[in-house]
Amino acid sequence: MIWRSRLGWMLGCSFLAVAASGCSDAFNAGDLVYIEAPAMTQDLGPTQGNLKDKPRLREKVRAAMKELYGPDPQTIRVPKGMPLSNGGALLASHIEGGKDPGPHPILQVSATPGSAPAPQAGGYAIYRRNCLHCHGVSGAGDGPTAPFMYPTPRDFRPGKFKFTSTPSGRPPHRDDLRRTITYGLDGTSMPAFEPLLTPAEIEEVVDYVMFLSMRGQTELALIDEAATFEEGDAGEALDEETVQSLADSVFKMWRKSQSARLNPKVARTEPTRASILRGRDLFLASDCKDCHGRLAAGDGDSFIDQETFNKIVFGGNPSERARRAEELISRDSKKLWKDDWGNPLRPANLNKPMYKGGRRPIDLYWRIAKGINGAQMPGHYPSPFDDEKTWDIVNFVLALPYEPTLLTDAPQNAPAGTAVADARGR
């Protein structure tokens, strides 16, 4: 009879093991913490103030951040004047302190058992479920899947976004973020969330991205401000008023962006042969070819060549990229190989009809007119291109993938205008 009781034990134990692993929520709860801006503890060069040797000032910044935005991602605080929908009420499902959030609402994200069922999941929950594994808990682009991606997910904290409709260098319009999240960024790992989230959920997560972004920008501003003080004067640094005014200036920039979209003054020129050829000549006569190359294959002179790029990016341990770049790019060559977030980057190959920021004429107008923030591509409007010229280039860019001969057959150093005359003669 011994074997029977042994079997019983084995069965019982495996049942328990399965039950225990299924019930454990150690994986879910845990203490979530925001990671700090690197400038808190490191010297990143002369452009960014740092608190490397200033522990007391560091504590001040930490305290101010806690006061403004809440101590951890699960307890969100929305500072006064933050430009979010409904005063930040879309950020979380369970709001402590009644219906009217007031000036300093504390949004307790973790719904406590017994509390009323949440009307909506809230931006934080949606972010955590759909975005966190790439963009990270703090929006630093450091989620667990991020190291496997090229390009890497966006770090929201510097408040810089590539595909925007606002003036160069400014925060994005809400609709820019909405479009990025709804339709994804073609050709990158950033997925389209249209089939996965409802429009209301997308609004919620847009708010959360804006929250993380403004939070990150405030942190950088506080560090910059604190770095102007000596460690000994820490007592005087960052009083309540200064902190609020630094946060306010971040909010103000975002608020201003919401009414500062660039809307082309004239509608797109018809994509006629003449317009496309004018666009081609402008492409060849301007700085486009320096980056995108004469055949628009993404191999212009301003960027290092593909082979060196591959050696730097893929030729060994990713954490030693900077050292390889140092070795392979001579200091005086001034050639580019990465974007403002420090990620390796190459100009787009315009022979492929793949546009990260969207393929509508207006999207390409924005890219060409005001450049791509942080990605080295400069703006070209109002100078050197006016509206008509910008539309000609847009027409050319849209036609090129289907007509590669446009560039291969282009006359070398064509004086502007001849091609247009040719076209009329044809």
Binding site: P191, P195, P401
Partner: protein, 280 residues
Amino acid sequence: MRKWSILFAMAAISTVGCFVYSYFDPDWWLPNTARDMHRVVSTFGREIDNLFLIILFVTGGVFIITQVVLVAAMYRFPDRRDEQGRPVRKAVYSHGSQLLELIWTVIPAGILVFIALYQMGTWASIKYRGSAPRVPPLAEITARQFQWVMRYPGPDRKLNTADDLVVIDDLHFVKKQSVLIYLKSADVLHSFYLPQLRIKQDAVPGLTIPVWFDCDEAGEYELVCAELCGWGHYKMRGNVTVHETEKDLRRWIDEKLAEQGRSQLAMIPGSGSEGGDRDD
């Protein structure tokens, strides 16, 4: 110890019970429309379900027969011991029965041959390129990690020209019409799966694979990836909309094309998102 036979009988009964129950629960039964869980909405769906049910009944019948025999044998011959704990019955040594073995080899073989022949027509009409409908392709669908890029011919009705409509994860077609798509992959293996229409086809890098199907009821369906293609596989989904008429489909395409051709903000009719700061 007769009680063991009861345990095994219960296991067999509850297994059969699950199958019977599933017939009445839309979450358990084959994926069909929400309105009528037993109505299959596509031509291939009916053929495939037919095959599926034949196989289910054959295997179900065999399962029931073998379980009945098994439980009966256990009930009839339980292990019995005398006071000293020694077995009461003597074991019998046997070489088996050739006739029995012949029977249980020939019958399954016959069933397999029957299924193999019976399904050939269905397979041919779904997969043989010769049976593809002679219609212009609705779209070219390129799978990539982790989405479906769908390219519909524009006003010139030709694919891969500058006026194509390109959308992500959004498949639209008209009911009661044969639809032809070209399936591609930009990176790894994916599988184009329309559960309600019972269509599943792997997307293979380097190949352009024609896939055809139809649907006789307008409505919303889903498209999923059915080949584990990476960590984001679970979110590789799409919306499928089946329109009542060709006109509805064209209206959708025209709307999307108008949006794709947008060159100024003001064109958006009634969208509150432009200009002012409507938040806070």
